[in-house]
């Protein structure tokens, strides 16, 4: 599964695996948006097993991040590596997101 979501009350753990393309991104957006509407405020995204993400995937992460900030919440990313890490540097999203090494 490219996307695994674990619900721990107000906190959500998201594990991204392999290559993430548009359909996974759309599913992730829908599920996370629902959870944010229900009151989730903290989302931790583990990208240590993520090899590739396209702009649709980035878009979902930014969109959820923006929504969380508006509600006083936060999104934390961890485990960025390879081309995913490069893309985050190129788009300066490494300065926008809270990133744990």
């Amino acid at each position: 599964m490219p996307v695994e979501i674990e619900n721990h009350g107000d906190n959500i753990m998201v594990q991204l695996n392999g290559q993430m393309y548009v359909p996974d991104a759309a599913m992730l957006r829908e599920r996370l948006m629902q959870l944010v509407e229900k009151g989730v405020r903290n989302v931790d995204v583990n990208m240590s097993r993520l090899d590739f993400i396209d702009s649709a995937g980035l878009g979902v992460l930014i969109g959820i991040h923006k929504r969380l900030i508006e509600h006083g919440g936060r999104m934390t990313l961890s485990g960025l590596r390879g081309s995913v890490k490069e893309l985050f540097a190129l788009t300066r999203l490494d300065k926008v997101f809270d990133i744990k090494e």
């Binding site: 948006m33 649709a56 969109g63 959820i64 923006k66 929504r67 190129l90 788009t91 300065k95 926008v96």
Partner: protein, 325 residues
């Protein structure tokens, strides 16, 4: 749901039938399905309809019907043969009213045409340059936008931009972005200042959870300098003679941070050079080993559809080409 015999006599209907058509079950049973006939479809339609039913036992498609109160509605229906003992043939019909869906679809198509009419026509000066752009929305409308216009003597301003997402929600915000960019560029002393202002405005005007990418440039035809500032459109292509290079620009998107820290860059161009800009829906599809793109500004709009034919699109796409003579 309707069950009818081969003569079109209704044998059974469910509650959804009554809700959509206004005919009570007790009234409908025993009547011909012709009570629903709208008169909108012509003789050829019904000939093809019955031919399909007789030959294949199946038909599916969209049809206009008429309710008990005389009003028209459009439905999608599918008819299957029903296998029952005996020699008689029966048909089982499932349907879904799609009047509103159809209206919405047609309206989106009209919106798409209106949107396309706002895009600039190709611009050129003989023996100097030719600039052109083409785009395609994933649906009829697009969340991408582009423009180019003169802002001074021999100074051409242009941009491509992309409101994240696609469809109607993105397209609605594109209209605001177009006005915003035009006003901002006229009120700003530098490209960096323009992008900063756009970033602030984007934070206010874009819907919650939405952001945008943009690439703005000023082409100075006196110095042949191509000055540009990017916000999230992190790559573009420059062709000079046989050299084809991807230029990457570190920058973030509009509307996600208070200080985007946008930086102006410059590229010295030569006569014959080509600049190629694209939004991420297209850029994501380009192989990293790309050596050239055989499209020219002059024929871009004619060739774009063919060019896109090799890809499976999942987002709105826009390409802008500036050819220097």
């Amino acid at each position: 749901m309707v069950i009818a015999n081969a003569e079109g006599i209704i044998l059974w209907v469910n509650q959804a039938f009554t809700r959509v058509t206004g005919y009570e079950r007790g009234f409908a049973i025993g009547k011909s399905t012709r009570i629903l006939k709208s008169g909108v479809q012509d003789k050829n339609f019904y000939e093809s309809f019955w031919n399909s039913l007789i030959l294949t036992g199946h038909w599916s498609g969209e049809i206009w019907n008429r309710r008990n109160d005389g009003s028209l509605y459009r439905e999608w229906l599918e008819i299957f043969p029903l296998e029952l003992p005996g020699d008689n043939r029966y048909y089982f019909t499932v349907f879904q009213e799609i009047t509103h869906e159809r209206e919405i679809l047609l309206d989106i198509q009209v919106a798409g045409k209106l949107q396309a009419s706002l895009a600039p026509t190709p611009l050129f000066v003989e023996n100097l340059f030719y600039i052109n752009a083409a785009q395609k929305g994933l649906y009829s409308v697009t969340g991408d936008l582009y423009d180019y216009f003169w802002i001074g003597d021999r100074l051409l301003f242009g941009y491509i931009a992309d409101v994240m997402g696609h469809g109607v929600s993105a397209a609605m915000q594109v209209g605001a972005m177009r006005v915003l960019i035009r006003e901002t560029i006229h009120q700003s002393a530098t490209l960096e200042q323009a992008m900063d202002r756009l970033n602030t405005s984007a934070g206010m005007y874009l819907a919650s959870g939405t952001f945008a990418a943009a690439f703005c440039f000023i082409m100075d035809f006196d110095t042949m300098k191509f000055r540009y500032v990017s916000a999230g459109i992190h790559s573009f292509y420059h062709q000079s003679g046989t050299q084809f290079q991807k230029i990457q620009v570190e920058s973030t998107y509009l509307g996600i941070t208070d200080n985007g820290d946008f930086t102006e860059h410059a590229l010295q161009l030569q006569p014959g050079d080509k600049i190629l800009l694209m939004t991420d829906g297209l850029y994501d599809l380009m192989p990293s080993s790309l050596q050239s793109i055989e499209l020219s500004a002059t024929n871009l709009r004619d060739e774009f559809e063919t060019f896109l034919g090799q890809f499976f699109l999942h987002d709105d796409v826009t390409m802008m080409i500036m050819d220097l003579s």
